[in-house]
């Protein structure tokens, strides 16, 4: 075991750091990770914002995992009628306010149709 100093290959080929320093780094990073986890858990909730695509502004909401949205005030836009909320900008995936649940931070887009 005393003569095991063989050069390492791969991405660590030229690593020149003592185990002691590495220990410090591991501990430091672990503490940081735990802090981040704690911070994340303390600031729970997903932000759901509404893009009205040119209509009147709608207030954003903070929701927990698995909750439904509180029905937002219906936006208005001159010359158009509101057609409901969509999960994507292309307005292909409609969002059902009663059944769809939140699982991430997201933006809902307003659909409009000519009256």
């Amino acid at each position: 075991m005393s003569e095991t100093e063989r050069p390492l290959r791969g991405l660590y080929g030229r690593v020149n750091i003592s185990v002691k320093a590495l220990n410090g780094i591991i501990i430091g990073l672990s503490v940081l990770l735990i802090a981040c986890l704690a911070f994340g858990m303390a600031n729970r909730g997903y932000d759901v914002t509404f893009n009205t695509m040119g209509g009147t502004a709608v207030e954003s909401q903070k929701r927990m995992y698995g909750e439904v949205l509180e029905p937002p005030a219906e936006p208005t836009r001159e010359g158009y009628a509101f057609d409901g909320w969509y999960a994507d900008e292309g307005l292909t995936i409609p969002w059902d306010l009663e059944t769809d649940t939140v699982s991430q931070s997201m933006t809902l887009y307003a659909g409009w149709k000519a009256p």
Binding site: M1, S2, E3, T4, R6, R9
Partner: protein, 504 residues
């Protein structure tokens, strides 16, 4: 004797202990180096020489014990600290900035400033200082040469000059001659003698006994991490040293030669390399013969083997095995043609360090262990077991990482790897480099056993006694050409040296 006793003790290491998990690497080791002497440190690989030096330089922290430099207790944390206090080391493996020139390497980390107020580095000061050191040591190197353009031996001289330029009191030489030619060794010894006369304490680590007996004043021998003896070199003989190192009597350094040379097997005609100096080499090797290849470093010995094996590009030349032409364009083809090659740089091109013994043993003969399309664990471990037993490899298990074995045992694993391919021609490049005495004998025995089985062995070596002791004939290379061929039984080192210098 009384003259020597008057010389002051320069470095004293007392009761040094160092443990690694599960292993006691150093057990109460002491070493005393007096000013103006060369102190040889000897021992088999794994005896703890390097560990002891690493404790001195602070690479490892010692568990217990004391180190005194000129009577003051010291405990270096880094090798830089050691350097600044006058303890330098010339490493076996050179760590140099190859893209930079000589003086940059000499003054790395302490570039001289133009003046106290001008923080720019002064090229002229650096040049003058380097030149002065070189003149003193009679090194003929232009300080502005780029390192990578110089041969290893000159780079080593630069390393030595660097140690000297620190005005070091204690200089450790770790296997300094492993890549030097005889002439360069002479030069090195002149430098060492000069340093000794100046009052430096030299610690000289080497496996080469002839050198040790020539150059050193005292010899300390270690075995298995323990101090065995410290004696004046004058009172020691080679056999005595071996006995102390191995812990038993080694009456014969070479096994008895009882191989029978048979019919010609391998014929090489006009071999010329595309990218090295190797030119027009032709020879015939016979069955059951151990054919030595001698020559200075850079004479094309290694290149010859590499070209035969196909890992270097050939320009011209033909290879015949039993009269049939073989191409050997790459290692795979050579393998299929029943060639095998043990490379010189065991660590770089031999072992798979982090893989276990089994993987290292079976990698070249994997297709033999297939059952259907899949590899059979049983066959793999049987083959490995055969390798361990027939080579008498010392390893805890097949699953041990090869890097934790000693050099000799690593070499045995690689030999087993090649024997499992059932080769007819074995090309061995420095098979005993960096291996301790006991293991060397076993390797010689293995080589002769192979010859007895009717295989042809080509063996390159820098150690002439080894070639004379093991080979039947010796080819001597010089400047990339074949300078001559001698019968190992009735030749002398002088004759070989003369041939080796023929085309230099």
């Amino acid at each position: 004797m009384e003259n020597q006793e008057k010389k002051d003790v320069l470095l004293k290491m007392e009761g040094i202990c160092k443990s690694f998990p599960g292993v006691k690497a150093l057990d109460n080791v002491s070493l005393t180096v007096r000013a103006g002497t060369v102190h040889a440190l000897m021992g088999e690989n794994g005896a703890g020489k390097s560990t002891l030096m690493k404790c001195l330089f602070g690479v490892y922290s010692k568990d217990s014990g004391h180190i005194y430099l000129e009577g003051k207790e010291i405990n270096f944390k880094t090798s830089k600290e050691a350097l600044e206090n006058g303890v330098a080391m010339v490493h076996q493996e050179l760590n140099q900035a190859l893209k930079r020139n000589v003086m940059d390497n000499m003054w790395l980390g302490r570039f001289p400033k133009i003046s106290k107020w001008c923080p720019l580095t002064s090229e002229s000061k650096m040049y003058a200082a380097t030149k002065a050191v070189f003149d003193e040591l009679e090194v003929q190197v232009d300080p502005k040469t780029v390192m990578s353009r110089m041969p290893v031996s000159q780079r080593q001289m630069v390393e030595i000059a660097k140690a000297v330029s620190f005005h070091s009191k204690v200089i450790v030489f770790d296997e300094p001659t492993s890549s030097l030619t005889e002439e360069e060794v002479e030069h090195l010894f002149r430098i060492i003698n000069m340093l000794r006369d100046r009052g430096c304490g030299i610690i000289y680590i080497s496996h080469k006994m002839e050198e040790i007996l020539r150059i050193s004043d005292d010899v300390t021998i270690m075995r298995d991490g323990q101090w065995v003896a410290t004696r004046p070199a004058k009172e020691l003989t080679m056999n005595e040293i071996i006995r102390l190192m191995v812990g038993r009597e080694l009456t014969n350094r070479y096994p008895e030669k009882d191989n029978v040379v048979g019919e010609p097997l391998l014929e090489v005609k006009g071999l010329t390399a595309a990218y090295s100096a190797l030119r027009d080499v032709s020879f015939v090797a016979k069955k059951g013969e151990v054919l030595g290849i001698a020559g200075l470093d850079g004479s094309g010995r290694t290149e010859l083997l590499e070209n035969i094996f196909g890992i270097a590009t050939r320009k011209e030349g033909e290879i015949y095995l039993e009269g049939k032409r073989v191409m050997n364009r790459n290692a795979r083809e050579s393998l299929a043609n029943r060639f095998a090659m043990l490379t010189e740089e065991r660590r770089a091109t031999g072992i798979f360090g982090i893989r276990d013994i089994q993987a290292n043993t079976t990698i070249s003969s994997l297709r033999r262990y297939k059952v259907g399309p899949f590899l059979s664990n049983k066959k793999l471990s049987e083959a490995t077991e055969w390798g361990i037993r027939s080579m008498r490899t010392k390893t805890p298990s097949q699953r041990t990482q090869i890097r934790s074995l000693s050099g000799g045992n690593q070499q045995k694993v690689i030999l087993a790897r090649w024997l499992l391919t059932e080769p007819e021609v074995l090309l061995l490049d420095e098979p005993t480099r960096g291996i301790d005495v006991g293991a060397k004998y076993e390797i010689y025995q293995l080589i002769l056993n192979l010859a007895k089985e009717g295989k042809t062995v080509l063996m390159v070596s820098s150690e002439m006694p080894e070639l004379l002791g093991v080979c039947d004939r010796i080819l001597v290379m010089s400047g990339g050409r074949l300078a001559g061929e001698v019968d190992a039984r009735n030749t002398t080192q002088e004759e070989i040296m003369t041939l080796a210098a023929k085309y230099v």
